[in-house]
Subunit: 262 residues, 2 copies
Amino acid sequence: MTTRTAPLYLSVADAITRSIERGDHPVGSLLPPETELCQRFGVSRHTIRAASRRLTDLGLIHARAGIGTIVRASSASPRYTASLGSLTDLLAFTQATRLEILSTDDIRAGEALAATLRCRRGQAWHRLRTLRYPVDEAQPLSHTEIHVRPAFRDLERHFGNGTVTIFSLIEQHYGEVVAEVLQDIGACSVSAPIARLLGVKPRTAGLSVHRHYLDARGKPLAISLNTFAEGRFRLETRWRLGWQADPLPAGSRRKRMPAPQR
Amino acid sequence: MTTRTAPLYLSVADAITRSIERGDHPVGSLLPPETELCQRFGVSRHTIRAASRRLTDLGLIHARAGIGTIVRASSASPRYTASLGSLTDLLAFTQATRLEILSTDDIRAGEALAATLRCRRGQAWHRLRTLRYPVDEAQPLSHTEIHVRPAFRDLERHFGNGTVTIFSLIEQHYGEVVAEVLQDIGACSVSAPIARLLGVKPRTAGLSVHRHYLDARGKPLAISLNTFAEGRFRLETRWRLGWQADPLPAGSRRKRMPAPQR
DNA sequence: AAGTGGTCTAGACCACCGA
DNA sequence: CGGTGGTCTAGACCACTTA
């Protein structure tokens, strides 16, 4: 246990945390100015700022120059988070794959498709029907129907025969960045036409994975509807306990992100 | 456009980042001591430490008192992370559910089960066969086979008739904390006995979700094997782009370079 | 014992915000 | 304008690791 005396700034952070939890500083209100906290705790401003940084990391407060320090939450609660090195990891392919385009067309979303894609009825999409194969295998891994913005229509010209993903092509050739991915997983029966393409019997069990690739404003860049045959694919996610803050909702100005420049 | 000059510590952080990316400091090697960096950049130690904190947040370095600052990665790459407020969110139940215990027994893992549970053959487990129902519905949501450590055998005594989860009972009554959850998803055909319990026809499509609940040392507390009938369940995950560091694996000591470069 | 990062003080100037 | 948090300096002591 805590035999060692904790650093001063942690004690201060703890005291402020308890003060917030007790309700002394309701959510939305301002914490006392740092100079006042210095006097109250009898420590230097540096120590107060170290404590403040900790509370910021915990998601309890949000300091803003010229305004003050706003209380964001009344208690620090543990969170489980999962992390991916890249979007390719989301696909969870243990080996390299290649994408084969079966056909492309321009469509407008009918009622059913609009519900699946979560868009308006009549929304225009450029659709690519594809099969994904493990490299060096004749048996496809999945049937994937990709819907992209009409503006990305000439995307397929950039498909090599290599191991590519849609989102990487969009990021490379259109300067868009995938800021968010919404993934939706369910079970499905593989329909007859898709079963034929996948080389399985109709009505066998399949994994249905929908992925919405969104830009920074939350607008969809591409939406893929994947169907995996039973046994050819498992999706693994590792959730770790931590105390990282919930990200601020988009639109609220965050600290300057100094241009990841790459 | 950037008329504004960036803060000093960010410039320093950028310079060190480029230096690492250039290969001046290979992964595993030590960065120069902070005092030396002060001289090199002509700034105070506080500024160096602010830069160092940024690189730590980006996952590039790992500073350890008495040792030095170890380079963890050669480039800051964006990461996609998903976050949960609680483990219950992992279950993604939009409504409250109740758990019905069908039977319990003590078993030892055979070959097949050991592979599924990722444990040794012959490993002892206490098994609970259960059905999960949405509150106020007669149709079960899923068939769930829960394997817990034999030490948790009298767990079922604590089951109320309420809306409980296994891990919350373990956390409450045995003082263990779920530090990590490994979730594995695939498609499956629903076997005849389970189909009967779920009220669907045998061999229809189902969603197979395995969850390993691990303690802080990575030892399994409980492992649940869930089978959801088609259409009764979808699992949604939202991944956001960020620059947070990959968490260090639990208990890992960073290895030293044979020839530490300095 | 020497050197590392971790903590802390006292003081200063700045950009930003609201009145 | 006055007050806020953001940044920066110069100096100090500590706990820790390695030898």
